[in-house]
């Protein structure tokens, strides 16, 4: 009888854990994106729709578990800071189709980013990801809606057990920071976005 109870308890625990998608934070450290005087004296807008902001995604972790997080919500302050270090005034909009808001922003460029993430772990017994990637794919339109530039960058982050034991989303945070750093360099180098 006691053996049956033990087996049942183990099965219940396995079922509980098998269903686990652990919430993590991958917010970039804004100190890794130091504010600087803008190099382009034009305004820019970037658009992250409310439904994207509130979209939670689930990707792989270790030991058969998964992790869940909000990639758009976590990247938007870093993207604001990154673009603010390039353009005179940056505004976040929740839609690209509101002409009144676009006109009010006096933006020369409208950035339309999408964010894709992947994660995995080499570990069989711990769930936080050891490898993470963040891909920012973006189109840039002029105020008339014509696409003037499009490109993408991929940031990567790795974390070992000793590193992530105090910060479960470390690999993700590092991947976010790497992606934003590459995004900044790419936008600064694009002659179409001067």
């Amino acid at each position: 009888m006691s053996r049956a109870i033990r087996i049942a308890a183990a099965v219940a625990l396995l079922a509980l854990l098998g269903a686990c998608a652990h919430p993590i934070s991958i917010t970039p450290d804004l100190a890794s994106i130091p504010p600087s005087q803008p190099s382009v004296q034009k305004n820019a807008v970037f658009v992250i729709a409310a439904e994207d902001r509130d979209r939670e995604v689930t990707t792989g972790g270790g030991g058969g578990d998964q992790v869940r997080y909000f990639p758009y919500r976590e990247i938007e302050s870093g993207m604001f800071q990154t673009l603010s270090s390039i353009y005179a005034k940056v505004t976040l909009l929740r839609t690209a189709t509101d002409k009144l808001l676009l006109d009010a922003s006096k933006a020369s460029y409208v950035f339309l980013p999408t964010v894709a993430t992947e994660s995995s772990s080499k570990s069989l017994v711990t769930w936080p990801p050891t490898d993470f990637s963040v891909t920012i794919t973006y189109k840039v339109q002029d105020p008339a809606g014509k696409v003037v530039y499009d490109n993408s960058v991929q940031g990567k982050g790795q974390a070992t057990f000793d590193e992530f034991k105090r910060e479960r989303g470390l690999a993700g945070r590092l991947a976010m920071q790497d992606a934003l750093k590459k995004f900044k360099a790419q936008v600064e180098a694009a002659t179409e976005l001067k």
């Binding site: 652990h22 917010t27 910060e167």
Partner: protein, 189 residues
């Protein structure tokens, strides 16, 4: 049976690693809406001074207990520093942080807690007396507070990370309450 025991031990180990011990609170995640509001408010540049801890009994500036786990601040190990860094981050993003400014934001934190004691709903609260001084003269002196509720769980592996992830949003709410106060903005002008 032995294989089952080994599997059980591995799961128990993973549980301990996943939800026990001490873990950092996530970094502060600025609200772009907060930063834009501050930037467009007409406020003059300021610097962030010190927030002193004067916490109610049972709360610590060094850690927040989340069941079997302690959450610590990623900023010098102090939650008052977390609040200082949050204000610095938002002021910097709005290009209103000036370390040489004679306008100084500071205060005393009286409540700072997150709880996942309930299996259904987690809660968090920050309360602080915030001051703004210009050349040493007090221009603003008010108690501001923020609360948050979030989903909790019977399972520590879910409730504890939810509690950790709620902290930056709690600080964001506190900063939003401050920036939404016309008297605070007026004190910065």
């Amino acid at each position: 049976m032995i294989r089952l025991a080994i599997r059980f031990a591995l799961i128990a180990l993973a549980l301990i690693v996943a939800s026990g011990c001490t873990a950092l609170a996530p970094n502060y995640n600025s609200s772009v809406e907060n930063m834009q509001k501050l930037r467009d408010s007409g406020a003059a540049p300021a610097r962030v001074g010190t927030f002193e801890p004067k916490l109610v009994s049972g709360q610590s500036n060094d850690y927040i207990s989340l069941r079997a786990s302690n959450m610590v601040s990623p900023y010098s190990g102090k939650f008052t520093t977390y609040i200082e860094e949050a204000l610095k981050a938002d002021l910097a993003a709005a290009r209103l942080l000036d370390e040489k400014s004679n306008v100084v934001i500071g205060g005393t934190v009286t409540k700072n807690d997150v709880s996942v004691a309930s299996f259904s709903e987690g809660t968090g609260e920050i309360e602080a007396k915030v001051t703004v001084t210009r050349d040493g003269q007090v221009r603003y002196d008010k108690v501001k507070s923020a609360k948050i509720t979030f989903e909790s769980s019977f399972v520590g592996g879910i409730a504890i990370p939810n509690g950790r992830n709620a902290y930056p949003r709690l600080v964001q709410n506190f900063v939003a309450a401050l920036f939404a106060d016309p008297d605070f903005i007026a004190a910065l002008k």
